[in-house]
């Protein structure tokens, strides 16, 4: 195993390992089997390994892809599908919400719908408003769905393996700006990260920064800056999944730090960050001395680089928001 793992390779490896492990796992989507292995070149060569019965390209039919995954899942397969960009998930929504998510409960727990729906999400790539959204909040209020959003290559591998093994439908978000990131590989190739447990990615005593996906490396970078320049020790909590939501870990962190900022690449109204803050307020109000959100504006994601850069909260924005809220003038 190499010293560092690229995020896109982590995804590919998880798929390959799980397909080797369990032959009920199948994988399909638009152009995922074609030579390049999807538009982000994440899955090249997988069809060659497992054959066209288990790995295949589909028509441009997001609703059929998702519906077919559902039907296959409830009859014994474990489909992984790719809905290329998260933005296209509106087309898939009916099947996920009204079929997959409800099957376990409605059937009286006869059978679940084990399936994974992978998509590239997030801004920063100048892809414009229809190719940069993060669809997690469209689905966060749907009981029966899990939503995983990894923050690093090792997390991606471990969470995707868990998602594939999970008996429930899992929406899996891959932030575009992470695909080419390299990081330490998991301790062991077999490492599976359970869905629904947040991770304290960095311990700290002064405040808690909660995020998910690309927000986590941004938060870690901000925390490093804050520690170095401002003497502020931020704890960083990586939610890992937005449903189920590991409120316990956040509450424990807040009990230690008494301050919370939730960082979301999306608007404050109707986002997961405001909801998390609300749940913390419900269950840990008296631990809270301060709580706030760092989000985008209430607008679609703009194309122009100047606009997009100002729109998306990155490491700098997190650090300066913490400084400002903490009343610290930057040491720099």
């Amino acid at each position: 195993m190499s010293d560092t793992l690229e995020f896109r390779v982590a995804i590919r490896t998880a798929i390959v390992e799980e397909m080797e492990r369990d032959e009920s796992v199948v994988f399909f989507g638009e152009d995922i089997a074609a030579e390049q292995g999807g538009v982000f070149a994440v899955t090249p060569g997988i069809q060659e390994i497992f054959g066209a019965e288990r790995v295949f390209d589909t028509p441009i039919s997001e609703l059929a892809i998702t519906g077919a995954a559902f039907g296959a899942a409830v009859t014994g397969l474990r489909p992984i599908i790719e809905i290329m960009f998260g933005d296209f998930m509106g087309l898939s929504m009916d099947s996920l919400v009204n079929q997959s998510a409800k099957y376990w409960y409605l059937s009286g727990e006869q059978h679940a719908a084990p399936m994974v729906v992978r998509s590239a999400v997030g801004g920063g790539g100048r892809f414009g408003a229809i190719h940069s959204q993060t669809h997690a909040t469209w689905f966060q209020g749907i009981p029966g769905l899990k939503i995983a959003f990894p923050s690093s290559p090792a997390e991606a591998k471990g969470l995707l393996k868990a998602a594939i093994r999970d008996d429930n439908p899992v929406i899996f978000l891959e932030h575009k700006r992470l695909y080419s990131i390299k990081g330490p590989p998991p301790q062991s190739a077999e490492e599976v990260i359970p869905l629904g447990r947040a991770n304290v990615a960095r311990p700290g005593r002064d405040l808690t920064i909660v995020s998910v996906g690309k927000g986590v490396p941004d938060a870690l970078q901000a925390a490093a800056q804050l520690a170095e320049n401002d003497g502020i020790e931020a704890e960083v909590v990586d939610l890992r999944t937005l449903r189920p939501l590991d409120l316990e870990t956040v509450l424990e962190s807040v009990a230690r730090t008494n301050r919370l900022v939730a960082v979301e690449e999306g608007p404050a109204t109707g986002g997961w960050a405001s909801g998390l803050l609300g749940l913390v307020a419900e269950h840990g109000l008296h631990d809270l001395d301060d709580a706030w959100l760092l989000t985008t504006g209430e607008l679609p994601i703009p194309y122009s680089p100047t606009l997009e850069d100002a729109f998306i909260p990155g490491a700098e924005a997190i650090a300066s928001s913490v400084r400002e809220r903490a009343g610290v003038a930057s040491a720099r």
Binding site: L63, A64, G67, G71, P79, Q99, P244
Partner: protein
């Protein structure tokens, strides 16, 4: 796997069995209506009386482990596929003994043990479920069937899934129960081109219009489609023309239908069509009467059992959001 086609012509016992299955559905629906008016069936319900020949004919061409996806008008779909009338009726009444423990209700029945992938409350949803089941079925040498209405052929689900099944040569059979109305709206008013089979043909899918009130006509067409699917020759569409005897749902008196049209179709009640066929086959009235009694007793028993069953106790239930 070797593919042996079942013969389209059956032994006399089988004829009686088909008739009995249709009667079971009919009487089930009669009870549903009665129980609805008594306040025992809740919310709404969509009766399939008049359309019984379609699911019975189709399911007669299937193996027990083949898959079927039905609709909110799905009592016939479930019963034809083998769901126990007791557990179906209990489900309709919201009882704990229902096939889904009372959680699903009339529109969303699921019976995995009998290959009933589910009944789907979203128009067109059954098409996707069966298409996906066909992905699994392909590996298993099985077949997956979607039941849906004429109105569903205007849904994106129909288009995307039929094309999907065609290009992947899935063992799927798409059965459109064309009852000429979607809710209150006549099929021709909302169906460009006016013809459902030609839509399938456009995807290169063989399609056939079938007398949906003749269970053996349906059976014959289904046998051919199922064989095609099992042999790896891809999907088929069957347009089974039929008619619902009731309104769209409990609240609908169906005044939008011309009385002559209703008359015409009532005269071709699938049970009458079947009885005529039984007579042709030389089956004695006495034998038919015995079936009638047996089915009546079965329904009676199901009703009694369901009415006697408890409602689920929310305090005692321990539902889980996720499969473990």
């Amino acid at each position: 796997m070797t593919v042996e086609q079942q013969p389209a012509t059956e032994a006399p016992a089988a004829y009686l069995e088909r008739y009995g299955q249709m009667l079971l559905i009919r009487l089930f629906e009669t009870e549903m209506q009665r129980l609805f008016l008594k306040g025992e069936v809740h919310g709404t319900t969509h009766l399939c009386a008049g359309q019984e020949a379609v699911p019975v004919g189709v399911c007669s061409a299937l193996e027990p482990d083949d898959y079927l996806a039905g609709t909110y008008r799905g009592h016939g779909h479930a019963l034809a596929k083998g769901t126990d009338p007791r557990s179906l009726l209990a489900e309709m009444l919201g009882r704990a003994t229902g096939v889904c423990g009372g959680r699903a209700g009339s529109m969303n029945v699921i019976d995995v043990a009998h290959g009933l992938v589910g009944c789907f409350g979203i128009v067109g949803g059954s098409i996707a479920a069966a298409t996906g089941a066909a992905v699994t079925a392909k590996r298993q040498g099985r077949v997956a069937v979607a039941m849906f209405g004429d109105g569903a052929t205007n849904q994106g689900y129909f288009h995307e899934c039929l094309n999907f099944a065609k290009v992947l040569a899935l063992p799927a059979v798409y059965v459109c129960e064309n009852n000429f109305y979607g809710e209150f709206t006549p099929m021709l008013k909302v169906t460009g081109g006016g013809d459902i089979t030609s839509r399938a043909a456009a995807y290169g899918i063989p399609a056939q219009t079938v007398d949906g009130n003749d269970v053996w006509a349906v059976r014959e067409a289904a046998l051919e489609a199922v064989q095609r699917a099992r042999q790896g020759r891809g999907p088929t569409l069957l347009e089974c023309q039929t008619y619902r005897h009731h309104g769209h749902s409990k609240a609908d008196p169906a005044k939008y239908r011309p009385p002559e049209e209703v008359e015409r179709w009532l005269a071709r009640d699938p049970l009458n069509v079947a009885k005529a066929r039984l007579a042709e086959q030389g089956i004695a009235e006495q034998e038919i009467a015995e079936v009638d009694d047996a089915i009546k007793a079965r329904i009676e028993d199901a009703v009694q059992a369901a009415l006697a069953a408890p409602y689920p106790d929310p305090a005692a239930e321990n539902p889980t959001e996720f499969a473990p």
